[in-house]
């Protein structure tokens, strides 16, 4: 089985220059990999660095040391050292991200927000829209909302738009940052089914799920992030 994501010896800390340059270690010596068709869930108490790991993988956080290797169109790319242009290309083609919060763009209709990643990959606009409509219907987003910009939607509605946007592409790697946080039971089940479908399709997924039931349903294995905690290292 292919392993499109390998994280090796990654260290991360924040230096707070506005607070006299104090250095806050986040994670030390992170090592793991995710195989195709596998969903790995990051576990451990909050504040232990789960979100930070996702953000490093997606390029939003820089890393102090180590490698984040991604199989990008049969080339191995190290996200930790890649230039911005490469990271953007990886995001467009290989690695998707579903965050807790939707960064809304003013005036763009929900259905276009969802269709955008496909359009960006060169898929024709109406085809992309059809796919988007299918996903929004599956996630039970009321049809009358589709043509409205999501800025004024409720948390749950925004999140469903966000999930649809994240799941619409055929990215080989998906990062899921609490995608079910503000969803009701019905929609949580829909998301669980969608994740299962992605597994079938051979997508490698890495996620954070606080909801026990969902976690049980989707996780192939749980990776305890406390193992990478620098505090633990100091204590030991």
């Amino acid at each position: 089985m292919a392993t499109p994501l390998v994280v090796s010896e990654v260290f991360k800390s924040f230096t707070m220059h506005l607070r006299d340059g104090i250095k806050l270690p986040v994670v030390n010596d992170v090592n793991f990999s995710v195989a195709s068709g596998e969903c790995v869930v990051l576990g451990g108490p909050s504040g232990i660095g789960k979100s930070s790991i996702l953000k490093m993988l997606y390029g939003n956080y820089a890393v102090d040391a180590g490698q984040i290797l991604v199989d990008h169109n049969d080339h191995i790319i190290d996200i930790a050292s890649a230039d911005p242009r490469t990271i953007i290309d990886v995001r467009r083609q290989t690695m998707g991200y579903v965050s807790q919060f939707l960064r809304t763009v003013p005036r763009v209709a929900a259905i276009d927000v969802v269709a955008e990643p496909l359009v960006a990959r060169g898929i024709e606009a109406n085809v992309a829209k059809e796919n988007a409509a299918e996903l929004l219907a599956k996630l039970n987003l009321p049809r009358e909302l589709w043509s409205l910009p999501p800025a004024t939607f409720s948390g749950g509605e925004q999140q469903r738009v966000n999930i649809a946007r994240g799941f619409i592409t055929s990215h080989r790697i998906l990062l899921l940052d609490e995608p079910t946080a503000s969803l009701d039971a019905t929609n949580r089940r829909v998301v669980v089914e969608m994740i299962a479908a992605k597994k079938e399709a051979g997508v490698a997924m890495l996620g954070i799920f606080h909801d026990e039931e969902v976690r049980e349903a989707v996780a192939d294995r749980i990776l305890d992030v406390s193992a990478f905690s620098p505090r633990k290292a100091i204590a030991a």
Binding site: K55, G59, Y61, P84, I87, R107
Partner: protein, 258 residues
């Protein structure tokens, strides 16, 4: 991915006497890429923009541009005629103040059509049709085509300026605080429009702004300037989510949260 950059900036410095305008700036820009240059007033971002866009001669350094024939030319070693031709065909420049980029006393249609006429279009009907199309794309209604920009609101003027720049299908657009001086609601509309056009047309753009929200929304990559130096440079998300330099951290932490 395209393997050749569109623009190569190497060692560009500009001194005003002993004062630094900008110092030793290096970067490359690829087709379809949007670069934001951020920093406070006086940080040298506009000086840098003017140096790159050949509006200001840098003290040292070179700016190379890949012409449509695929060859790189050093912009400071081509003739003024070629440079001006480049600026009104393959480049666009969107000024903060639309009055600097528009002809305020000729109609909207002629403002958009001017570049076409400058490159030799001599068919009134076709020029007008193209102008009408472009006004539509920047959401100015066709019945305003014969009105002068003097009669337009600030947001409309800015959109007209954008249409005027994009009508010749440029590959590179420079924007100097494109949303400066506009109401917030008008800003949002303009940003959305620019974002859509940049995506649809696959434009490369260099956007100077002091507004980090503008940079986040429009740009892929970001350069932070302070006292004429580029102090931080990287993926826009990375610079804003994980700023490394003290000044960038200050800048990011100074954003007002709504």
């Amino acid at each position: 991915m395209i393997d050749t950059p569109l623009l190569k900036v190497s060692g560009v410095s500009k001194f005003y006497g002993s004062r630094i305008g900008c110092k030793d700036v290096n970067f490359e820009l690829w087709p379809g890429e949007v670069l934001a240059i951020v920093g406070e007033s006086g940080s040298g971002k506009t000086t840098l923009l003017n140096c790159i866009s050949t509006r200001l001669l840098p003290t040292t350094g070179s700016v190379e541009y890949r012409m449509r024939d695929g060859n790189f030319r050093d912009l400071y070693h081509i003739s003024e005629a070629e440079r001006r031709f480049l600026m009104r065909t393959d480049w666009g420049f969107v000024h903060q103040n639309p009055a600097d980029g528009l002809r305020m006393t000729v109609s909207a249609g002629a403002n958009v059509g001017e570049r076409l006429m400058a490159v030799g279009d001599r068919h009134y009907g076709k020029i007008r049709q193209t102008a009408t199309d472009w006004l539509g794309r920047v959401e100015i209604s066709a019945d305003r085509i014969d009105d002068q920009p003097r009669a337009f609101s600030g947001g409309m003027r800015q959109r007209l300026q954008i249409a005027r720049n994009l009508v010749t299908g440029p590959r590179l657009v420079f924007m100097d605080e494109p949303t400066g001086g506009l109401d917030v609601s008008v800003q949002a509309r303009l940003l959305d429009l620019v974002r859509g056009l940049v995506n649809d047309l696959g434009l490369a753009a260099i956007v100077v702004t002091h507004d980090l929200a503008v940079a986040r929304l429009l740009s892929h990559r970001m350069m932070v300037m302070k006292d004429g130096h580029v102090i931080e440079h990287g993926l826009t998300d990375r610079v804003l989510d994980d700023p490394r330099e003290p000044y960038t951290q200050l800048l990011v932490s100074s954003i007002l949260q709504v």
